[in-house]
């Protein structure tokens, strides 16, 4: 295996392993809400904290590995730097894990000031370890972004080349200097990622300062803004990282070519801005927030649908339409991931409408939509990338019957699981409740059944992946 592939698999396998553990925690929480088991609130909220932070980091790891690998194919990138960033993130995950079990830290992965410090049922060291863990993840993420940005700047001729500016405004842009779509995505993710990481370090330092010397006070509204700027963008960027290989994979499976056009470049600039300012929608119910920011939040959230649907999804659909598409598990996961992204996006747009948010804010509608595009989008994209690699290496794909079994269990289970959230959210069941009011327990029961079915499907996906991986390599790297 080349060192580039090794880096890819280290990131991917760690991401999937963390994801699997977090999924088990998720099922345990839904089972508790269904009142099938009773862990009690202390353990429930510790699981909730770990589940949130762990999941975001797991999909981010998949995205970082995947996009790094795509960039590595475009030119020289240091594997050591990529592994250093990986080590920082994994150290952060370990610290967060220790803070939660056995530390008992349960202030939520959003660690909204001053909750980590007030009314805590956990030891002070657990708070500190958690904050240091988040800081390490933030540092690793920022280092990765700097590496990727440095690469695109050098490879495509500075800011003008890497961003696609030269392509859009200068008619004489040389074709070989135009970044392919995945590199434009990498550029945007890296720029937003650096801003995000810096915000993460700012709030992280402030919270660590407060932890060490409680006389350092923090403005709660400021803390909310900075925390959500960091958290929202970090989570949101996982989708945009995955799009890099969705572009590549769709082109490969359809046998058609996907080029960077002026429209694609402009769409990604728009995404760069929307990712940075859409987070205001997390503060809709903070009426003291400066009012124009609420409007900016709604408009940015709305308009982010334009580059998403009119460019990335539309472009992929055009590639597929009446093509010689090879339907393998790899391409099925990439395609259904796009469906999950769009459907989750519809749920998000409804929630991003302030009059509706008044009724939906912090209900289960919120996990409903973000599970749709993180589980039904980014996670499927990650599976797509894994299968794409396995199918390419072995020159084989899975038999049709197996594809049907996987499709019915995975997507069927996922749909039932997600509907549980949507129905409860529309009926006002609050999110993050260990014991939910009606109809929470009922919908949690369906959701648990759906999640178990999904788990069964994913077990088949895992066994099939191992089978493909053990086949002799037809196209060794």
């Amino acid at each position: 295996m080349t060192s580039a592939r090794r880096v890819l698999w280290i990131y991917l396998l760690t991401g999937i392993a963390v994801f699997t553990l977090m999924m088990l925690l998720g099922i345990a929480m839904r089972a508790e809400q269904a009142r099938w088991v009773a862990f009690g609130p202390q353990i429930f909220y510790a699981m909730l904290t770990l589940h949130g932070g762990g999941m975001i980091t797991s999909v981010a790891l998949c995205g970082m590995g995947g996009l790094w690998y795509l960039m590595r194919r475009e030119g020289e990138l240091s594997a050591r730097a990529a592994l250093a960033a990986y080590a920082l993130v994994v150290l952060g995950v370990v610290a967060v894990l220790l803070s939660v079990f056995p530390g008992g830290f349960a202030a939520g992965w959003t660690f909204l000031y001053p909750l980590p410090f007030v009314g805590a049922t956990w030891a002070s060291w657990a708070t500190g370890t958690f904050l240091i863990g988040i800081m390490l993840v933030s540092l690793g993420w920022t280092a990765w972004c700097f590496q990727i940005l440095a690469f695109t700047l050098t490879r495509y001729g500075g800011w003008g080349g890497a961003s696609g500016w030269n392509l859009v405004f200068k008619r004489d842009a040389e074709p070989h200097a135009v970044p392919p779509p995945q590199s434009i995505a990498a550029f945007v993710v890296a720029v937003d990622g650096i801003l995000t990481g810096m915000a993460g370090m700012t709030i992280g330092t402030a919270l660590i300062a407060h932890w060490l010397s409680p006389s350092v006070l923090i403005d709660p509204l400021w803390a909310k803004n900075v925390t959500f700027f960091f958290g929202h963008a970090f989570a949101n960027l996982t989708i945009y990282m995955a799009l890099g290989w969705v572009y590549v994979g769709m082109a490969r499976y359809t046998g058609r070519e996907y080029h960077t056009t002026k429209i694609l470049a402009i769409a990604w600039w728009a995404t760069l801005i929307f990712v940075a300012v859409a987070y205001f929608h997390h503060l809709y119910m903070d009426f003291v927030q400066y009012r124009p920011l609420q409007y900016v939040g709604e408009i940015a959230s709305y308009l982010s649908a334009i580059p998403a649907t009119a460019v990335s999804v539309w472009g992929s659909m055009l590639l597929v339409y009446r093509s010689r598409m090879r339907w393998t598990l790899g391409s099925i996961f990439l395609f259904t991931g796009l469906i999950g992204w769009v459907v989750g996006g519809i749920g998000a747009l409804l929630d991003a409408s302030i009059p509706l948010n008044f009724d939906l804010h912090n209900t289960l509608w919120v996990p409903a939509h973000f599970h749709t595009y993180l589980l039904g989008g980014v996670f499927l994209f990650a599976l797509g990338l894994i299968y794409m690699q396995l199918e390419e290496r072995s020159g084989r794909c899975s038999p049709p019957l197996l594809r049907w079994v996987v499709g019915l269990t995975t997507f069927g289970g996922m749909a039932v699981f997600l509907l549980g959230f949507y129905v409860a959210g529309a009926n006002g069941v609050p999110r993050r409740y260990a014991l939910e009011p009606s109809p929470g327990p009922l919908t949690a029961s369906w959701a648990t059944v759906g999640a178990l079915l999904l788990l069964l499907g994913l077990l088949v996906v895992l066994i099939e992946a191992i089978r493909l991986a053990r086949l002799p390599a037809e196209n060794p790297a």
Binding site: P41, Q42, F44, Y45, A106, A107, T110, L112, P114, L115, V118, G119, A120, T121, D219, P220, K224, R256, M285, D286, V288, Y295, Y302, L303, A305, I306, T309, A310, M317, L318, V320, Y321, R322, R324, M325, F335, V342, V343, I346, G347, I354, P355, L356, D359, L360, N362, T363, W365, Y422, V423, A426, N427, G428, R431, R432, Y433, A434, E436, P437, S438
Partner: protein, 177 residues
């Protein structure tokens, strides 16, 4: 009025439509393949329409729904002008609310919501169990939430921001009559 139950059918219809379109695209690969040079120009033409419809539509939805935004008027004078407004202080604290037990029907109320410790949410559920209003309860800040209750009965208040391990049990209520 509770809008939650209306949202679900709207979502399901839009989601089903999006899924149907994308699945039709997937099924199109069963037809005889077309060269990409033939697909692309038509696809781009259609996309122009999608771009215009979506941009205009979304901006229009923002503009048209502005009157339904739940925020209080920006100028204090507008508050004072409605002198029949009842101002009610709400204080949240791990894990309960301090608030009156009875509130009037059909009268404009402005809740002045704050918190003594961490972030909480002040979520009001009507007698049928639907959310009718909410606002964050933050330490160091006071959020003003204007509400007029048009239905008499027992209202439940639930915390709508994760505030610690007693979060799910943090509730209260009042009668409207």
């Amino acid at each position: 009025m509770a809008k939650g139950p209306l949202v679900l059918p709207v979502f399901l219809v839009l989601a089903a439509a999006a899924m149907a379109v994308m699945l039709l695209v997937a099924l199109s690969t069963r037809l005889s393949p077309l060269p990409y040079s033939q697909v692309q120009p038509n696809g781009y033409k259609l996309r122009r329409w999608w771009f215009v419809i979506l941009s205009v539509g979304l901006v229009a939805i923002f503009a048209v729904t502005l009157p339904w935004f739940p925020y209080p008027p920006l100028r204090a004078a507008a508050h004072a002008a409605k002198n029949d407004t009842l101002y009610v202080k709400i204080t949240a604290q791990q894990y309960g609310f301090t608030m009156p037990s009875v509130l009037p029907l059909d009268r404009r109320i402005v809740f002045e919501v704050t918190s003594l410790d961490v972030n909480h949410g002040f979520g009001i559920y009507d007698p049928r169990g639907q959310i009718v209003a909410q606002v964050q309860a933050m330490p160091d800040y006071v959020n003003h939430l204007p509400v007029t209750f048009t239905r008499a009965g027992r209202y439940t208040v639930r915390c709508l921001e994760y505030c610690g391990i007693g979060h799910a049990s943090m509730q209260g209520g009042f009668d409207v009559r």
